[in-house]
Assembly symmetry: C2
Homo-oligomer: 137 residues x 2
Amino acid sequence: MADHVSGKRLQRAELARRTGCNLETIRYYEKTGMMPDPPRTASGYRVYDDAHISRLRFILRARELGFSIEQIRGLLDLVDGGTQTCAEVKERTEQHLADVRAKIADLKRIEKVLAATAAQCSGEDIPECPVLEALAS
Amino acid sequence: MADHVSGKRLQRAELARRTGCNLETIRYYEKTGMMPDPPRTASGYRVYDDAHISRLRFILRARELGFSIEQIRGLLDLVDGGTQTCAEVKERTEQHLADVRAKIADLKRIEKVLAATAAQCSGEDIPECPVLEALAS
DNA sequence: CCTTGAGTCTGTAGTTGCTACAGACCGTAG
DNA sequence: CTACGGTCTGTAGCAACTACAGACTCAAGG
């Protein structure tokens, strides 16, 4: 398998290596239709090319940014349909941004409670514990 | 079922109502050993009392604060064992606090990227989209 | 007394987003 | 030619629930 130049016709492990994606996850994305079914060798091995790398990177990047599979599927539909408008994508992104901000707010609330509770702890070797009391109250 | 006074001998739906917990989740917590198997009536109906309410509230509160089931199981072991020390609980709480803060940091990074990307959008009805390009890059 | 409707019981399947097998192939280096 | 790795498939597992189906029980109304 001479691919000493730039990535053409690689197989699964190599695609995984280049994208940092788990081996099995690639198959999962194919099964769920986010990645296209790749062509196969005569013996059934998957063969990938640069387009697959790009699409997988797109998916992984979107996952990193916290988009759900369903949301990414939506983004990919826009891309694939070729009918995407900036307005549509912007709206989805901003919706997602709002979700992320809500999540941050939630976690900050939690942080505050945890910090306040932990601060009450003597840290000593005694059975009374304000954390447990706070949880039980 | 006279329980006009304070909660004694309630059944599942009532426990759910008082704690805000989903009906099925209670059964799940029992199955996974976080809640004790409650006594039953002759015909097999579960019967709960105030101790069950407290314990369920403890679990739900800890879940709200983002503790995993496994972590809560740990906290409950400390409580149940009676051997808990404030030092142990404090340490777990602070570990969890660190996790929460890491999560906040992650989300803030994501927020920044999303906000910057969305800001580039014209919001117009054209097919070029900086968000998709950012994801694809 | 009997029916009706609501509550409860059990086990099991679905959810999301993967991850990890088992057992059967394939392909290449020694 | 054989050994060792990679690949193939389908399926089961993870967290943490949630939602059934089908059987049972219980209290109230007629």
